[in-house]
């Protein structure tokens, strides 16, 4: 159960990765930093306002969503069409900037966040899970359902799908592609921030928790980056495998996620669920 919860946490982060990738084909290496910033923002709001966890949670996530929107609208939009190496390096550089800023504003020490999730839930003698981990699983289910409904039922969601499939055609149909792409960044950042806040009781808040983002990326790749269910599945797989691998193979402690990913990539270079097609001339 702990593994599944950890996997769901990866999955929540990966959800943002996949959304942004599907909209813009940019892999946002700074996504883990969005998560870290989210945790810090929630912490700051809950300390500054003193209204308790939930208002701070909403405010914190929204503020990170604004950050995500601005990053796209001001920076990422300018470099569309550049070589992929430049774009990767750019997002990595953003990771550095966010981490440094978070450290300078909130301090470099490890902090902890008070959440309403204390205690444990026991179902019989078999399953025992603490509420903070359960909250992650529940949040994942809620977010996935919300995203699914958003993309299949609302005008904006369908428009985003269109823009993701063919930007130029979407332009011709009168869809405000630029704004929608920035919106997608905002949603991705929102989910990452929520993941950060929910993970806070488990991992504590630190400027380095952004590194979880890379593991989430590994999980998403195991499942296949182009599809949300695939990415979630891959992340849960990674989360479940990790504790076992750490226990039985202490030599690769901490990097087992990457081993699993490399093996999958070598066997099936496009993830477990294939999303690319051959281009027709």
């Amino acid at each position: 159960m702990t593994g599944i919860a950890q996997g769901c946490a990866y999955g929540l982060i990966a959800l943002g990765f996949v959304l942004i990738y599907k909209a813009t084909e940019v892999v946002n290496f700074a996504h883990g930093e969005f998560m870290m910033l989210g945790a810090f923002a929630v912490l700051a709001f809950s300390e500054a306002l003193g209204w308790g966890f939930w208002p701070a949670f909403v405010l914190g996530c929204l503020s990170i969503a604004v950050v995500g929107y601005l990053v796209d609208a001001q920076i990422m939009r300018r470099i569309i069409g550049e070589s992929q190496a430049s774009i990767f390096i750019l997002t990595v550089a953003f990771g550095f900037i966010f981490r440094a800023l978070a450290g300078m504003i909130f301090g470099w020490n490890t902090r902890s966040l008070d959440t309403p999730f204390d205690g444990k839930l026991a179902i019989g003698n078999l399953v025992e899970i603490s509420y903070d981990r359960l909250s992650i699983i529940v949040a994942t289910v809620i977010f996935v359902a919300a995203i699914y409904l958003f993309f299949s039922r609302t005008r904006y969601g369908v428009a985003m799908q269109a823009a993701s499939q063919n930007q130029l055609a979407a332009y011709y149909m009168g869809i405000p592609v630029k704004r929608l792409v920035s919106m997608t960044w905002a949603i991705g950042a929102f989910i990452a921030a929520a993941a950060g806040a929910l993970l806070a009781p488990v991992t504590q808040i630190d400027t380095t928790i952004g590194l979880l983002g890379i593991k989430a990326l590994a999980g998403a790749i195991v499942g296949g980056f182009g599809s949300i269910p695939g990415a979630l599945l891959g992340c849960i797989l990674i989360g479940v495998i990790e504790p076992f691998a750490d226990y039985y193979l202490p030599g690769i402690k901490g990097v087992s996620a990457y081993v699993v990913m490399l093996v999958v990539l070598f066997v099936r270079p496009e993830g477990l669920i294939v999303q690319t097609y051959q281009k027709k001339v």
Binding site: Y21, I89, Y258, P269, Q275, T276
Partner: protein, 358 residues
């Protein structure tokens, strides 16, 4: 403005076609050769280190700049080169043999990675190489019986053909020699059909395939060449570090290499050289910036990664061609003096290049 009149077939593939280029290269060569006479040991050692990074940068440039295959794990090859070379030296293998074995081993590992990477594309490749880098770093740490693990490994002293090179200037000339060989070799490579096929694969895999280029084999070759050159840089780097630890060859080092070629300008050998200069000067520049900023900002912990990140963002957003692109513009401005217009280098409007359809 100078016009080029081609009077022989060889003019098409000449390295230095223009007189200005010849003068500049000659000038730089003289300066580099004369450097030990002028500079103090500390600066000379830094210059030697810069030359090593020039080699490593060119190694990555062959792969990322010229073949279009992103690698975020290139420090792994740097590490493989450094460790192989040091371990062989400590077993008493002479320098000349050891460096060849290092080249071959790094090249072979590169080709093996390239073999599996030739099926991936875009960011799958980036992540796979990133994971490869992390894994190799872990291997260095865990394989303690061979690499000394996290305790580190002392590098034997430098000795070429029985002559021991202990002075800084001797090591500098060795670095310079290898850097020149690599620069010459790589420039030559891109005049050959093999090198041209690298460029074809970068520009469009589909068209390259249509023109009869064996794309998989080109990628494997490119990985091999790139890894061998980077391995050579690693072997030379080992002599600069004198003590190897796995952390040196981690993700940050890979990012530094990547930063070098992106800031220098992707797709040109000169860009790698510019990038190496920037990476060598950057720490000095950052500490200078820290001094001139007001102490309340300048002394805060974490200001360095912030400035580091900011510089990268600014370069990529405002000068996507890197320093090489800027240099082209300045040269063009001077050569065509009154005719330079702002729109001379305005690029075509670009749209999202999709990777999903390949």
């Amino acid at each position: 403005m100078e016009f080029l009149f081609k009077t022989a077939y060889n003019d098409d593939i000449r390295f230095l076609a223009r007189t200005g280029e010849k003068i500049r290269v000659a000038l730089v060569m003289i300066l580099m050769l004369a450097a030990p006479l002028v500079l103090q040991d500390y600066y000379l050692a830094e210059l030697g280190l810069m030359l090593v990074y020039v080699i490593a940068g060119i190694g990555l440039m062959v792969l990322t700049g010229h073949t279009g295959q992103v690698s975020f794990g290139h420090a792994a090859f740097l590490g493989i080169g450094a460790y192989t070379h040091s371990i062989l030296l400590s077993y008493g293998v002479p320098f000349s043999v050891s460096i060849i074995i290092t080249l071959l081993l790094a090249g072979l590992i590169g080709m093996a990675l390239g073999r599996s990477a030739s099926k991936m594309h875009g960011f799958y490749l980036a992540i796979a190489t990133l994971a490869f880098g992390i894994l190799i770093e872990t291997v260095f740490g865990e394989w303690a019986s061979l690499t000394g693990g996290h305790m580190g490994l002392a590098v034997p002293s430098l000795k070429v053909f029985g002559v021991s090179l202990t002075q800084v200037w001797q090591q500098y000339y060795l670095d310079l020699l290898f850097a020149l060989i690599v620069i010459w070799g790589v420039s030559n490579l891109f005049r050959s059909p093999t090198g041209r096929s690298f460029l074809a694969v970068r520009d469009s895999e589909l068209s390259a395939r249509c023109l009869g280029v064996n794309v998989e084999w080109v990628k494997i070759q490119s990985f091999g060449v790139s890894a061998a050159i980077t391995g050579l840089a690693g072997a030379l780097l080992a002599h600069h570090l004198t003590y190897l630890a796995p952390e040196v060859f981690g993700v940050l080092e890979s990012l530094k290499l990547m930063l070098m070629i992106v800031v220098g300008g992707l797709g040109t050998v000169l860009g790698a050289i510019f990038g190496a200069i920037v990476v060598s000067i950057l720490p000095v520049g950052l500490s200078f910036l820290k001094d001139i900023l007001p102490p309340s900002i300048g002394q805060t912990a974490g200001i360095e990664p912030l400035l580091f990140g900011l510089i990268i963002v600014l370069v990529i957003v405002f000068e996507p061609g890197g320093l090489y692109g800027r240099w082209m513009k300045i040269r063009f401005f001077l050569e065509t003096f009154p005719y330079y217009r702002k729109s001379s280098f305005v690029r075509q409007k670009s749209y999202l290049k999709t990777d999903r359809m390949r």
